[in-house]
């Protein structure tokens, strides 16, 4: 009786933990393989423990070139997409204009379209226009699919912001520009930073769209794809593990900071629904 009751209350959590285990299994394997000395180039099995891969992550120099190129592309695409998307989010939340619904569709569609379709259609355009494929066509593609995500992220933050804070600033002798600089920007900044991190991770990890528009330029995912056919150097797992750890550290750091900031950022609780008369 007691056992069946305990089971009834906890089985959902049990299933959840098993599913989380499923999600983490490959991460554990990647981390494990980063310490592996593979028996042959095409083997994916664990063979022998070694620290060599971590000591010489750039033993295969093409790989590190590819990582570096991905970082460059990610950085440029992030800056551009964040700028374009933030401006759009401000216009959408703060202004009235014609053609709003059409624009919303234009922003939503790239998030709902299969990457395959976006990748092939851009390729069709570049080929038809005689644009040589390479670094800059990748950047163009990445900015395109990151913009929408930036817009929704910044928009959410902006829409959650209390307009009265800006009114209060204007009431307290701050001009439009000062209000933006002292109140709006600091309060929206976490949203912009989150959008930029999202854009970077989308760009850094993109394979499908890049694959169609890269020409001979090799990004990290492109390198892994190619290596999967020729044999994967174990250093790929070092990069994979390092990415995971860096991102995890960023999240932990921001959640520690966020705990303080959140306490401050949550608007003053209102006990009663506001009555505008």
């Amino acid at each position: 009786m007691k056992i069946s009751r305990w089971f009834a209350q906890h089985w959902v959590m049990g299933v959840a933990l098993l599913v989380l285990g499923y999600l983490f299994l490959p991460i554990a394997v990647v981390a494990g393989l980063s310490f592996n000395r593979p028996s042959s180039r095409l083997s994916y099995d664990f063979n022998e423990f070694t620290l060599d891969n971590w000591r010489n992550p750039c033993a295969t120099s093409d790989m590190c070139d590819a990582v570096l190129r991905s970082v460059q592309i990610g950085f440029i695409a992030t800056v551009a997409a964040t700028a374009l998307g933030t401006l759009m989010a401000f216009a959408l939340v703060r202004h009235r204009f014609r053609g709003r619904s059409g624009l919303n569709v234009l922003i939503f569609l790239p998030m709902a379209t299969p990457e395959l379709v976006m990748g092939t259609s851009l390729l069709a355009l570049f080929v038809a226009g005689g644009v040589p494929l390479g670094f800059w066509t990748i950047v163009i593609a990445h900015v395109m699919f990151c913009v929408s995500f930036v817009v929704v992220t910044v928009k959410a933050r902006l829409a959650g912001m209390d307009r009265r804070l800006e009114e209060a600033a204007m009431d307290l002798y701050a001009s439009e520009w000062q209000t933006f600089r002292r109140i709006t920007l600091p309060l929206v900044l976490p949203g912009i930073v989150a959008a930029a991190l999202l854009a970077f991770s989308l760009s850094f990890d993109d394979f499908i769209i890049t694959n169609f528009n890269s020409g001979t330029t090799v990004t990290f995912p492109m390198y892994v794809w190619g290596a999967a056919q020729r044999g994967i150097p174990p250093q790929v797992n070092v990069i994979g593990t390092a990415m995971f750890l860096i991102a995890l550290l960023l999240v932990l750091a921001s959640s520690l900071r966020g705990r303080r900031a959140r306490r401050a950022a949550v608007a003053v609780p209102v006990a009663r629904p506001s009555s505008r008369s």
Partner: protein, 383 residues
């Protein structure tokens, strides 16, 4: 800012604000004398907050003027007006600490040494030592005082308060009412206070304007409005009234004679808003007294008889409902002074009043008695 003009009266002239087809504020004109504590009282949606926002510059009037010391400020940007606002739910800047919140206005006007002023202001609102806290770390009452300090430090000519106590609990609200009044007396700035809470308005303000549907129904000192309301709306929005439908049957020197439901009553002419045709005869519930029989009614008083249909004991008083012969239920508040006879439902009784406590309002033909409070409307001064 702009203190070259001497502070003066705030005057609204034919102020109108339309949102599309909806008229929020309808041709409003009033004068708020310098240094007074003025309350705009009304239910939500009556246009009071819109009026306030037009004074603050957060809303541009469709037409009309906002005059401060005879200068029209209606089209100035909010930051160009010598007017500050205490916002509903305060709108404290969450990313700045209390000190920076309070110093905000001074800094924007380019004042360098703000330290002493901020500390002085924080001590005026009794928040010394809270400089480095964030707004979210303060209680509702403390946040409210920061909002007040943040506005007052700028020495505005007019301070606007938008439901400033709305988010506080009852006890704290009482304390802050007294506190606000003390501060207003101390600084002598014109306060314009918007509220839907009639008790709050009457406690604090020298002058109350009751607003309804974008217009002012009545304006005056709290006691004046309460004792002699101008319209049936005011009579029932501010406290509660028994309004009995009748007809003017003639005048008799200083008296006006009224027939209602077969009875004849008189009202002093000075307490009549209308002296002909259909009228409402009004008496506040606390001005009605209960007696067992007509014989016990003191000389000079008038009465209605009926059956007690409900008796609610509420501590300081007992609230009775008396069902009259024609079916209307009249409210009677009897103070629990211990000297009065108690009634229980089913008892026959008469409700009597001194005619000097009654009033006469115009009535639209066909409109019936208005006595029992309608649900969802503010009830009674003691609510």
């Amino acid at each position: 800012m702009a203190r070259e003009t001497p502070a003066g009266d705030l005057r609204l002239a034919n102020l109108t604000k339309k949102f599309g087809a909806f008229t929020a504020v309808d041709d409003l004109s009033l004068t708020i004398p310098q240094g007074s504590f003025f309350a705009l009282l009304g239910a939500s949606g009556c246009g009071k907050t819109t009026t306030l926002r037009m004074i603050a510059g957060l809303e541009e009037p469709t037409s009309g003027q906002v005059l401060l010391a005879d200068r029209d400020i209606a089209r100035l940007r909010p930051y160009k007006r010598p007017v500050n606002t205490v916002f509903q739910s305060y709108a404290l800047f969450p990313h700045l600490d209390i000190f920076e919140n309070v110093a905000f206005g001074l800094r924007r006007r380019g004042i360098r040494s703000v330290d002493q002023q901020v500390r002085q202001m924080l001590s005026l609102v009794q928040l010394d030592g809270y400089e480095r806290r964030r707004p979210a770390q303060l209680s509702g009452g403390q946040q409210q005082r920061v909002a007040l300090a943040r506005a007052l430090i700028n020495h505005p000519q007019v301070l606007l308060l938008d439901e400033p106590l709305g988010a506080l609990d009852l006890k704290l609200r009482r304390q802050m009412q007294i506190e606000l009044k003390r501060i207003q007396t101390e600084v002598g700035i014109t306060f314009v206070h918007v509220t839907h809470d009639q008790e709050e308005a009457m406690t604090m303000a020298d002058t109350v304007a009751v607003m309804n549907a974008g217009r002012i129904e009545q304006l005056g000192a709290p006691a004046e409005i309460y004792e002699f309301p101008a319209t049936a709306f005011v009579a029932n929005f501010l406290g509660q009234s028994n309004l009995i439908a009748g007809e003017v049957a003639g005048g008799n020197g200083g008296e006006i004679l009224v027939t209602a439901h077969g009875g004849r009553f008189s009202v002093p002419a000075a307490r009549a808003r209308s002296n002909q045709g259909p009228v409402h005869l009004g008496v506040r519930p606390e001005k009605l007294h209960l007696a067992g029989t007509a014989a016990q009614v003191p000389a000079g008083c008038q009465y209605l008889d009926g059956t007690v249909s409900d008796a609610s004991y509420v501590g300081v008083s007992t609230q009775y409902l008396l069902r009259t012969g024609w079916g209307t239920e009249v409210s009677v508040f009897a103070a629990n002074s211990g000297a009065q006879q108690r009634f229980v439902p089913g008892d026959r009784a008469v409700a009597y009043w001194d005619p000097r406590h009654s009033f006469l309002l115009g009535r639209r033909t066909g409109e019936d008695d208005r006595t029992s409070p309608v649900l969802d409307e503010p009830v009674g001064a003691s609510s």
